[in-house]
Symmetry: C2
Subunit: 723 residues, 2 copies
């Protein structure tokens, strides 16, 4: 294991005098920097409290915990930590219940509350001395507790009287990598895939270990290694050996590996004539494949499947239902404890129905017909990861089926890797939304965590924004979306502002001025991107295919429902998609309470106005402005927020390392240019369609509409292909 060496370097750096701390940082260390505490009073207190540690028990997970704890404490406190090896009198003890001896009783921890992954951290007193006790029912719980404790120090928290119980609310907390076997990443904006299939299984990149550390530090416990647009080759032995090597690296960190299953694999890889899920030879093929997998990877997590969607094969090719397909795979992995995550992201050009209604129409009738080890993975909104969508109507509509949430961390429609957008605001908005499925208080979060319908299985997935860039995510602030996803997956009751704050403290500095200014900037960022891209409920007006930049004029995409004009329906009279009873009536898919809230045009600052309503340009909005004027105002507000972000950032020069300061500054310059481009192109277009001039008090577009229409970005990133 080389992680120790890496951590050593951090420790060394942490010991440098304070005036030299403004050194270059390339972002590789993420939020696990462990630099020396700069608050000297607090440093003194920490040092006086912790000198010796004892981690009871022996296992790869506990070894990882020991290394992380030692390196972390030595870095943060800039002093040598003694591992007592076998002494419960150490100033910090970490142990599972079964290894904790007397401390089980003396600590007073109620282990029955901690489950298989939760942990407790308490300050125990014995006369004048005190000690820290980190405990759990399992080794992985101990590791999670260690990371949590280190976070307390990193954020300069009071540890004099700890009494923490932390248990994840959701069982499967999973990253989805849309990584192809040729290392391109579909919708990836941070270089190429981390997984170097060519040099696996022999060559173990240090990144694999650090990826596992980062995920474990925020409680992520699963990873789907391959793209949902899947390649059957990964299910063959040469690739499974490579997958097994990654699984071996991830295992001590509590992370299970999953793969995407290409539905037609029995044909492509198994030489069968069919992939019909009701065909016994097909079922047998999958069972044998699964046996092979579990022989190599005994704790293999299971499959994620995109079927009959955007050209992917699926059970409907054989006139079988999605349940038939999912259940066949579920039967294959069941003996080994595996699960199947079946995606609900389906829509068809041949169906004349409003695209946002199709998944509900397809899946709701299947409620109750899935095996117990199947989760239905539903995107946050009914369309496709827009800057803002109403919640997906399937949430609450399938009480007999565990629904998994699919968030997208990679910012396909949110400025990709050049825009600073803190997505926790979006995630939280979705998790907090009330489906009214069982009356008021039926929030999406309660469906996802299984509490509303008493589901045994629960899960949440984030489409990863990670690549082989030196700082993992290209934009330094995109690391926050990875971080926030993990934290919300563990505990969806957390507030975006609290998550952002601790992320800033760990990633940059505890300097209060920096933290508060950056926090404000982050919290304003999601509304900014909504405003400069798709205000007032507009959606999917991005350019075709790469989705980079505006394309509201596009009407010639391969399918009607890939065209921006399909979504905004702007003409000389008005704009918006009528999804009320006079239109597609997509609203009918929501429970009455939710429907009322969504249908109300004025609700929520009119954020869903044009998602549900087609309105005349002269429609009077809440502000008193006409719809046209309000649209102009919102686009300009988006740009203004970006300018404010730039202004804020400029005040922070010198408070952090020069390298990341400059990176963010340059990226904000790009974001500023792109926000103006979005505003100008969209307003130029809508102005031409509506025949209404942009009010003179606003900046007029820098170019005529034709200029924007002609812009082409043949090599915009993230296309990826699917080899």
């Amino acid at each position: 294991m080389k992680s120790k060496s890496i951590l050593h370097i951090l420790f060394m750096l942490a010991q440098l005098p304070a005036f030299q701390l403004a050194i270059a940082e390339d972002g590789y260390r993420l939020w696990l920097r462990y630099d020396k505490i700069r608050n000297s009073a607090l440093l003194h207190e920490y040092r006086s409290r912790i000198s010796t540690i004892y981690i009871a028990g022996i296992s790869p997970t506990l070894t990882a915990a020991n290394r992380e704890l030692t390196a972390g404490l030595e870095g943060l406190m800039a002093k040598k930590i003694i591992d007592t090896k076998n002494n419960f009198n150490a100033s910090l003890v970490a142990a599972t219940k079964s290894a904790a001896g007397n401390m089980v009783k003396t600590s007073g921890i109620d282990y029955s509350l901690l489950g298989t992954e939760g942990f407790a951290i308490i300050t125990m007193r014995d006369g004048k001395t005190s000690k820290i006790f980190i405990s759990a029912n399992t080794d992985i719980g101990v590791l999670y507790g260690v990371f949590h404790f280190l976070r307390l120090l990193q954020t300069e928290s009071d540890i004099s009287n700890l009494s923490i119980n932390s248990v994840p609310k959701i069982k499967h907390r999973i990253l989805n990598h849309w990584d192809n076997l040729n290392r391109t990443v579909e919708r990836g904006y941070a270089g190429i895939s981390l997984w170097n299939w060519h040099t696996l299984p022999t060559y173990i990149d240090q990144r694999y270990i650090d990826y596992a550390r980062a995920n474990a530090s925020i409680g992520i416990n699963g990873t789907v290694l391959t793209n949902v647009n899947a390649n059957a080759l990964v299910l063959t032995e040469p690739y499974l050996l490579k997958v097994a090597a990654l699984a071996n690296i991830f295992r001590p960190y509590g992370i299970k590996v999953f793969l995407t299953a290409r539905f037609s694999a029995p044909i492509e890889s198994g030489n069968l004539q069919t992939a019909d899920p009701n065909d016994t030879s097909v079922q047998q093929w999958w069972k044998q494949r699964v046996q092979e997998i579990y022989k190599l990877i005994p704790d293999f997590g299971g499959f994620l499947v995109k079927a009959n969607s955007e050209g992917q094969p699926g059970p409907q090719n054989y006139n079988r239902s999605h349940a038939d397909g999912a259940n066949m795979l579920a039967d294959a992995v069941k003996p080994f404890g595996g699960i199947v995550m079946w995606r609900a992201f389906v829509y068809s050009n041949e169906v004349p129905e409003d695209r946002v209604k199709q998944a509900y129409a397809e899946f709701k009738p299947l409620d109750g017909s899935f095996r117990k080890n199947v989760l239905l993975q539903v995107k946050s909104g009914p369309l496709d990861f827009q800057p803002r969508e109403p919640i997906h109507p399937l949430f609450g509509a399938m009480p007999a089926t565990p629904l998994m949430m699919e968030f997208q961390l990679t910012q396909e429609y949110l400025g990709q890797a050049t825009n600073l957008v803190y997505e926790a605001s979006l995630f939280k908005e979705c998790l907090d939304a009330d489906t009214y499925a069982k009356g008021k208080g039926s929030q999406v979060s309660k469906i996802i965590d299984g509490s509303l319908d008493k589901q045994q299985l629960s899960g949440i997935a984030g489409v990863a924004n990670i690549g082989n860039e030196r700082n993992w995510t290209a934009h330094p602030f995109a690391q926050a979306n990875w971080y926030a996803f993990g934290k919300l997956a563990w505990d969806h009751s957390l507030q975006p502002s609290d998550i952002a704050k601790e992320w800033i403290q760990q990633t940059f500095t505890n300097d209060p001025g920096f933290v508060s200014a950056t926090l404000k900037l982050m919290l304003s960022s999601r509304e900014a991107v909504v405003n400069y891209m798709t205000p007032l409920g507009l959606h999917h007006i991005m350019a075709t295919s790469h989705h980079y930049g505006p394309g509201p004029w596009i009407d010639n995409a391969g399918r009607a429902d890939w065209n921006p004009v399909y979504y905004h329906k702007a003409d000389s009279n008005g704009i918006g998609f009528d999804r009320t009873a006079t239109g597609s009536d997509a609203l009918t898919q929501y429970a009455p309470g939710a429907r009322r809230a969504l249908e109300n045009a004025e609700a929520n600052d009119e954020i869903y106005l044009l998602w549900f309503h087609h309105l005349p340009w002269t429609y009077t909005t809440k502000s008193g402005r006409s719809l046209w004027e309000e649209l102009c105002a919102r686009y300009n507000q988006g740009v203004d927020t970006v300018i404010a972000m730039q202004t804020t950032w400029a005040t922070l020069s010198g408070k952090i390392d020069e390298e990341r300061y400059n990176q963010v500054k340059m990226l904000l310059n790009i974001q500023h240019d792109e926000a103006i481009w979005w505003r100008d192109a969209c307003l130029a277009y809508f102005s031409s369609v509506s025949g209404r001039p942009i009010p003179a008090n606003y900046q007029q577009p820098a170019h005529p509409l034709e200029y924007y229409k002609k812009l082409q970005f043949r090599f915009a990133p993230g296309i990826g292909g699917n080899p």
Copy 2:
């Protein structure tokens, strides 16, 4: 400029106590590590000699020199260096002739010998004190001198009595990046392209700066940013703005940017009907394009062109000659001082002639018909970057044309990024080869540096092995090939062993045991790869397309001359390509002296035996063994050398950082597996063709021949495509 911050970190690390130096290193720093000198006596001496510096003059290049010198000295000596700003009494003075005042005379430097890039470094005495003086005619000469001086310290050299004059022998020392606009790299094995076209020109990656530093440190003064399989899009304004941003970064480091010119660009990008070089509208289009380029990049270097080769368009599409095409472009760039590098790598399937003869046949008649600012860029050998080839017959055959050397640093046919192969041995073998063009002593190096034929222009190119992997080249030892190329480009009289030694010292450690063992390992590595892939003059028996692994049995490639069987011609009677008078007579393209040397089957340890001769399996080789037995012996010798490399490396554990030690160890394991694979697959195949068993004293192939033939590597890296 953020490089200072990065360097600061190195400085800090260098100050750590020695016992903590075995820390993780990710390889990003290359050979510019500047860690604290570990020889304490020497450290003391350096410290006593150097405390203050003065770099006279103001320019971006001198600022870069000052930063590098300060950070380097502070790191190496672990002490603060004072910049006197304006005092020739500093203990180290760096100045151009025009800024050096009295020191021009007192130093005794003969500036007339230094040219526009050379430098002098001398120790000057004044009574009891001495000072270091680094001088040159130009700012860039000063920067080169600073890098050279830092290298002396990094290699723990005696600086008490320096008297160094160093002048490059070749004018254009250029990296060729086969990088596509979508960031794939053709024949790239170290991640994707450094050039993030999408975020340029606004976002300046720290890597761009460090790339320039690394190149300047070894004297590379030009870079072709784009693939020879070119895309005309890079010649359009949006891309030129991005190219200009890179040029601005590279300029202070003396590096000019070049682009590849797609010959059909006037059609694709200019909407012309033709790209005929004799068409005035085509000529005009290129002139305007070139004017645009120079408006944005006043010191643009010029074009590299691959034309009428492997599907690329060219002048022959219009029945014009290569000279017509090159001259048209040369006329366009001439007013601005640009050059054209025209590649001689042409061959055609339609021509029934032996492929290795075709470039000579095509270009020799054109000698003397190129413009003065055209260089003909010729690959080292007549085929295609094989582990070993005889020299290209064009060297020496075109006395009226300046010929540029094209080496390939990326190891397309030499184990790609998983095999440790030190290529300086190959480069040197080629540079030292005697063409006999003007009688004995007409070495290739004298043709390349222009001395043999009194050429004004001279150049050397290396196809880069650099990508966005954290350590730039994927294999830590592949950095040595970049380094050695730069050093040989500057001075081809250097010995591979000397270059390797100083590279090891800078990159890893000055520990004599480590240096000598690693040096031996490196120097054995090129002959190893020849032996386990293509011994005795075999060539091009790699698998099709990706060239990963053996494929001697392949006979169904798209073109006859892409098939391994075309090259080895093995059958039951014998093996080898008859290129004597009884065969293709490729030998006739060499001057008589060279021909005699190459034709002699026994010469040079029979290294070219099967390149020039088809021989019976029973042919008696110099060793006394039959040809078949000798082939078996050489393949096994290749594997044995890799095993020896592993054994050597195992003894070096603990002498360097754990991270890179383990990386190399894992990669040697892969190399070992691949060497055995090569040996077993090739001997199994040749055994089946010859009907001769592999002698029982050798390890028999682990699998039957069919196993090797069935292996497929659909996602082997480096294909790249050409979008």
